[in-house]
Symmetry: C2
């Protein structure tokens, strides 16, 4: 019985696309990204006001989007300004376009 998850090798594009897709795989994160697309940028607090979830959960979702490379955070003390990460956003867009032909 094998009981430790093995990691399998995939092509880089496949991994990237899956990573981006995974980041998009929660409605809250879709809302956040749509918000950022309209506003171009915003602070964490703005999202906390808009979303029906706690501050810590919003922060967690932002962290995941950041880890996936879809957004970036800039220190604007005492706040943090989040924006779409333009280059990676473009890469993601291209990967999805290619994927769907």
């Amino acid at each position: 019985m094998k009981r430790s998850l093995e990691h399998i090798e995939y092509k880089e594009d496949t991994e990237s696309l899956a990573k981006f897709a995974k980041a998009l795989g929660h409605p809250t994160r879709i809302v956040i990204l749509k918000y950022l697309e309209n506003q171009s940028c915003c602070f964490t607090g703005d999202l906390v006001d808009v979303l029906p979830i706690s501050q810590s959960t919003v922060s967690q979702h932002l962290k995941e989007l950041k880890n996936a490379g879809l957004i970036q955070g800039e220190l604007k003390p005492p706040k943090i300004k989040y924006c779409i990460h333009p280059e990676n956003w473009k890469i993601a867009k291209t990967l999805f376009q290619q994927f769907f032909d």
Copy 2:
């Protein structure tokens, strides 16, 4: 301390996009869908031969893709023929296009 996960209401398009994205959120499923896009259709066994994972795991991934509506299965005894679900595929494509502008 609240310890049961609440489900929050989102717009239908947001939910749909997140659902499709979630289904795309694993490299194995990306590979399966790419395979289906090229071949147009295939049997479970074909995928088991190609992928470095067990039959039951492949079956599980197929189930998730089916639940997300991205593929459909047709009985071709003793096999099962899987194809892209054209209508939903188109919907997914459109949602991603809209999302990325």
